[in-house]
Symmetry: C2
Subunit: 133 residues, 2 copies
DNA sequence: ATCGGTGCAAAGGTTTTGCAGGCGG
DNA sequence: CCGCCTGCAAAACCTTTGCACCGAT
């Protein structure tokens, strides 16, 4: 997509700002509720369109953790995600260079050109672990 | 879920049989079209219900490769999946024991109890590579 | 005979899109 | 001003579900 001819509208600005403020990995709808406090007339469609453009242009991450809905993340340094199977929240996991290792292991595997590796984790967060005692 | 009290209906039998015949990792709808040739009156809802039960009971795999729809796989030995970003088809990748390695690397990472690791690959299949020359 | 399963159709949840008007560069 | 962007609402998609009947055990 053409990322040069994009305009910095108020809506896009606020969507990006609010996403940068949180580490909760919100869905489009969750972010919409937050953005609406600053821009009461913004529409959900506009939030979707901006999130699509921002992720296509490499300014944010679009996450699919198999929940049937996408999440978004403005943190762009390498890291993984863990989804707590108890409370459903998504947490950041420090990066360990698994990708290089995996690529090495996959060298010469069949006739595919591997261009991307998707990894995420399921688990139980600290808070939920405590509640289970 | 209760996997003891399940009945082997014609519908469930044919859904499982047809899934076992293919390596195409069909979606529910794609499998519905195939099954319909043998059971013309089966409904899409029944296909969904049976795929859900079969995967919950560990007889098949439910795959989410971030396409906005689920795929299903009757192959139950350890292996990975690669989705061709050109043609959209999903291929099997031979298993290399990445999981153990990853678990080791994640030992003591924070305060999470990691219970599952989801990995899949994006890439370009042999056929599409040829077409690109 | 029981009770899990089925077909049908409607509804649910997420995301996309057509359109006319609005505003950023 | 040009043309990207917006709000609104409808529609597109995938999946689930309520209901009355059916059929596997």
């Amino acid at each position: 997509m053409d990322c040069e001819n994009t305009r910095l509208t108020q809506q896009r600005k606020v969507v990006l700002e609010e996403l940068k403020k949180t580490t909760a990995h919100p869905t489009a709808d969750e972010l919409y509720e937050v953005v609406r406090k600053r821009l009461p007339n913004i529409s959900l469609g506009t939030v979707y369109r901006n999130l699509e453009i921002l992720s296509a242009c490499g300014e944010i991450l679009k996450l699919d953790l198999g929940e049937g809905k996408k999440r978004f993340d403005a943190r762009m340094d390498p890291h993984y995600h863990l989804r707590c199977t108890q409370c459903g929240r998504v947490f950041d996991i420090p990066y360990v260079p698994l990708d290089k290792e995996i690529e090495e292991r996959l060298q010469g595997v069949n006739h595919f050109k591997v261009t991307g590796i998707q990894i995420h984790f399921d688990g139980i967060c600290e808070e939920c672990l405590k509640k289970m005692n």
